[in-house]
């Protein structure tokens, strides 16, 4: 579905990613690990740019509109499915049928009681779940998620990743929790200073192998 050959990304002259050679097959569940600044977010951005049409995003900063309700933020995943006029009406007064659709998603992430709360008032974990809900509502073939569960508790984190893995045929999670990476992904890619230093099926790896990436 995607292959990058010797890809390179520069920011203002500094190289952020070097010699990226990467092929992703349909159906793969990939974990992207590495220390902060190792280039995980940059790699996700690069992949998004190659496949924007079929991809749903959960960015690290969530990308929510603070002053809109949870409902509207989730609805935004499918803005392009409707005319701008329909969207405008829905902004002014939510359509019942859409609210039901969105509520079904919110139940999955346990946010149904926050449906019409303004995002500004949510906690960090609730915001992340809103962003996850948006990607679930949007759907698509590929999910790119940058630390999507870093602020929710362990139990819920596992459930959310499970849900995303079933909803999207191909997933790529940037994670810092090595346990979660091994238990929810079939392939692990390790980044260090903008280079891929590890690319193995997760069954060949132990938590200790991954921890090594975080030490210099």
């Amino acid at each position: 579905m995607l292959s990058l050959v010797n890809a390179e990304v520069r920011y203002q002259g500094n190289v952020a990613l070097h010699d990226i050679n990467l092929t992703i097959q349909k159906g793969e569940k990939i974990a992207l690990i590495g220390r902060s600044g190792s280039g995980k977010s940059t790699l996700l951005k690069l992949i998004y740019e190659t496949l924007p049409k079929i991809t749903a995003l959960v960015p690290q900063d969530e990308g929510l509109v603070e002053s809109l309700s949870v409902y509207h933020n989730v609805y935004m995943g499918r803005l392009r499915a409707h005319s701008w006029f329909y969207n405008l009406l829905n902004l002014i007064r939510p359509f019942k049928s859409r609210v039901e659709e969105v509520n079904a998603i919110l139940e999955k992430v346990e946010l149904q009681d926050k449906c019409f709360d303004v995002v500004k008032q949510l906690s960090g974990g609730q915001r992340q779940r809103t962003a996850v809900a948006r990607s679930l509502y949007q759907g698509g073939e590929l999910l790119l998620a940058d630390e999507p569960v870093s602020a929710v508790d362990e139990l819920q984190a596992g459930r959310l990743l499970q849900m995303l893995s079933t909803d999207f045929s191909t997933t790529l999670f940037a994670l810092h929790d090595t346990q979660l990476a091994l238990s929810h992904c079939t392939r692990v890619i390790g980044l260090h200073r903008g280079r891929i230093v590890l690319d193995e099926p997760s069954e060949h790896l132990s938590a200790a192998d991954l921890t090594r990436l975080y030490c210099d």
């Binding site: 803005l79 019409f116 303004v118």
Partner: protein, 494 residues
């Protein structure tokens, strides 16, 4: 558990309240085009652009120099006095005095000073310096309040007030002071130009003469020079050159009008004393005089001012929401944005008084020219600020485009700031609305101007005080509203 239901936000409800008020005002407003053929005249105005002419503008250089000189002297004097007042701004009476001085428009100050200084340069100088002092005092005080105090706190005990102020406060805040003062200098240029409309030898005077004679080629020369003057301000207005400019300005504004002590004392002891008291009549007749003035002039004046300004406020809001995408990186590339910027800069640099004057000549007397002028000018100012604010927004990589982007991504994020800017301008809009009365719309300025024409200074002074109180009231309501919405403005709009 009850199911959560959708509720609109405070700002949504508030916005519609204001729209409803404006709609009711529209029922009472006098809105029509009274001239027989308004568009031909507008066409003639714009065709003036094609045959620019300086014929008959012998004193062009003189007019421009006067405009700049009055602005430089007035704003500098205001900034120096304002800085001193800012240091004692925590005294309640200073705050109240400044609020009162600020709420009287520079044109009203000029109308008062004309009565006893005549065309002496002091008229223009004080008319600018007084309201600017009061504004500077308030904003400088706010800058000082928001500044970092850590350097001040570690100074050795016993360091003098003045030394500690200039060592520990000024260096950090200098940039803020400078930016704000430069912005006010631009306002000062506009104010100074407008003072020409009531007789001072600045740009407005030449403009109104050219307009009266229908010499649109001249009008455009004056306007273009004025825009160039403002647009190039940061190149010619260097702090190091300021002393030189100020000395030159003193010579430029100087004329041979002499101050007459008799006029001054007559003004304070005779002219402004209410007529019944002046003539030694009974207290009852003074009440009669006052209630007459209130019922037949102040009240209709206030009503019209409020009606016009509420419509203008909502019209400005609509203008802003339409205009800001033109200059926002969220919507347009470099080239379309520069076209947008050009239009906004022109609208921003043209004082609303001048815009209203032009539209009134084209469309005839009604509230329409004033509303359109206020909406365009304020819409351009706030649109510029909202556009700049929206440039700072960080969008998701997969954010939508076009109208969806406007409605879902950008508008919700900028709306709070937009309302803050708008309500900050509210008081300015009301103050300007009162002034536009001088052009013939029956707002407070109309009654003030008529009283002065009839040399009934006592009435004019009472009406000016009433106008000031109205402005103070609006300022208070606006502050309440902003507090209720929990929005804050930054320095650039004040």
């Amino acid at each position: 558990m009850t199911k959560p239901s959708f509720q609109h936000s405070r700002r949504w409800t508030l916005s519609w309240c204001f729209v409803a008020i404006a709609a009711v005002c529209l029922l009472f407003a006098d809105i029509r085009i009274t001239t027989y053929d308004p568009w031909t005249e507008l066409g003639r105005l714009f065709s003036g652009l094609l045959n620019l002419s300086t014929v008959g503008l012998d004193d062009l250089g003189f007019t421009l120099l006067q405009t700049v000189a009055f602005a430089l002297l007035g704003v500098t004097l205001g900034s120096v006095c304002g800085l001193s007042l800012a240091l004692i701004f925590h005294w309640r009476w200073v705050r109240i005095m400044c609020a009162l001085l600020r709420s009287v428009h520079e044109i009203f100050w000029a109308l008062i000073f004309l009565q006893f200084f005549g065309l002496h340069p002091l008229t223009g100088l004080l008319a600018l310096a007084i309201p600017y002092t009061a504004t500077f005092a308030k904003i400088y005080a706010e800058i000082l309040e928001e500044g970092d105090l850590s350097a001040l706190n570690v100074l050795a005990h016993g360091t003098g007030n003045i030394s500690s102020f200039f060592y520990a406060r000024v260096p950090d805040l200098y940039q803020h002071f400078k930016t704000y003062t430069a912005y006010r200098m631009e306002c000062g240029l506009r104010s100074s130009a407008i003072l020409g409309f009531i007789g001072l030898p600045t740009l407005g005077f030449s403009l109104s003469t050219s307009f009266m004679e229908g010499l649109y080629g001249q009008v455009w020369v004056l306007l273009i020079l004025f825009y160039v003057l403002i647009a190039t301000m940061r190149y010619w207005l260097r702090p190091s050159l300021l002393p030189l400019y100020l000395i030159a300005s003193v010579f430029i504004v100087n004329n041979d009008t002499e101050l007459s002590m008799t006029n001054i004392s007559r003004f304070f002891t005779h002219d402004i004393v209410p007529a019944p008291i002046r003539n030694g009549e009974s207290l009852a007749s003074f009440w009669q005089w006052l209630s007459d003035l209130l019922m037949t002039q102040a009240l209709p004046g206030i009503m019209n001012t409020l009606v016009l300004s509420q419509i203008a406020l909502v019209a400005s809001a609509i203008c802003t929401l339409l205009l800001f995408p033109l200059v926002s990186k969220q919507f347009f590339g470099r080239f379309p944005r520069s076209v947008g910027h050009f239009f906004l800069v022109i609208m921003r640099s043209t004082p609303e008084y001048l815009l209203a004057y032009i539209l009134l000549l084209m469309w005839g007397p009604s509230m329409l020219p004033a509303i359109v002028a206020l909406a365009l000018h304020n819409g351009a100012i706030i649109g510029h600020l909202v556009g700049r604010y929206s440039d700072e927004l960080v969008m998701r990589q997969d954010a939508s485009f076009g109208l969806n982007r406007y409605n879902y991504e950008v508008l919700p994020r900028v709306y709070g700031q937009f309302l803050a800017f708008l309500f900050y301008r509210w008081e300015v809009i009301v103050r300007e609305t009162a002034i536009l009365g001088i052009l013939g719309v029956a707002t407070l300025g109309f009654y003030i101007d008529s009283a002065i024409q009839e040399i009934r200074i006592d009435r004019a002074v009472v009406l000016i005080i009433i106008t000031a109180l109205l402005n103070l009231a609006i300022d208070m309501v606006s502050r309440r509203v902003r507090f209720w919405l929990r929005v804050k403005t930054d320095l650039s709009i004040r």
